[in-house]
Amino acid sequence: MKSIILSSATRLLMPLMLLFSLFAFFRGHNEPGGGFIGGLIAASAFSLYAVAEGVEQARRVLRIDPRTLLGIGLLVGLISGLPSVFKSKAFMTGVWMEQTIPGLGKAGTPLLFDLGVFLVVVGFVLTVVFSLAES
């Protein structure tokens, strides 16, 4: 069921949603939000696109197989715990940059970890949605 309205609305909505997801992701450390919510929003954007344009098309836009996202996300989450080990501190100790980045606040490994969460959530929702839609 391809509808022109939906498809053009999606084209408008999708970038907005993706932006919003980034916003939710970055603000998570200080306000309600975070990688999980951000990931869900991003995933909904792609799901919406899949509904509007078909799964084939959505996969093409995503460029990367959602299951690969799962792997990358897990690796990112894992890697974020490692820098501290090289500083001979315990695994998963937060390592922070000295300066603050304007508009975002401090950057450090916990944010990287949250990015891993973000990626896995996107990968999860899209794997489920795409494979359900295809079956």
């Binding site: 200080n30 306000e31 309600p32 999980f36 999860f124 489920v128 359900l132």
Partner: protein
């Protein structure tokens, strides 16, 4: 308030158990979903319900302003919700496949591997 919430949690548990004891495979999954809600609320309630602020540090402060809600159970529930959701998604698809392969949604007829 405690008493009312305890009662609600009890009711959710009762509903969950009742649903799981039905023969329909769909009700089983619904029962498990209810079970999840009940458990989340239990964690929330048992760590004391307070009509306080969220545990967010305001600009300029170094700690949330008292009184604020205990953030620990919230973090636990968040984890539990997400895990529960992942498991639930899998279970839902599983019962779909079970129905497709076995050809029934009546659990009483799914007994092939026990005896």
């Amino acid at each position: 308030m405690q008493v009312v919430f305890a009662a609600i949690i009890g009711m959710l548990y009762a509903g969950a158990v009742y649903m799981m004891l039905r023969r329909s495979i769909v009700k089983l999954i619904i029962g498990l979903a209810l079970f999840g809600h009940a458990t989340n609320l239990l964690i929330f309630a048992v760590a004391r319900l307070v009509r306080y602020n969220p545990a967010i540090v305001q600009k300029g402060d170094s700690a949330p302003i008292e009184p604020f809600a205990d953030p620990v159970p919230q973090a636990l529930i968040l984890t539990a919700i997400v895990i529960g959701f992942g498991v639930q998604a899998f279970s839902i698809v599983l019962i779909k496949r079970v129905y497709q392969t076995v050809g029934t949604d009546d659990l009483d007829q799914i007994r092939g591997t026990d005896s």
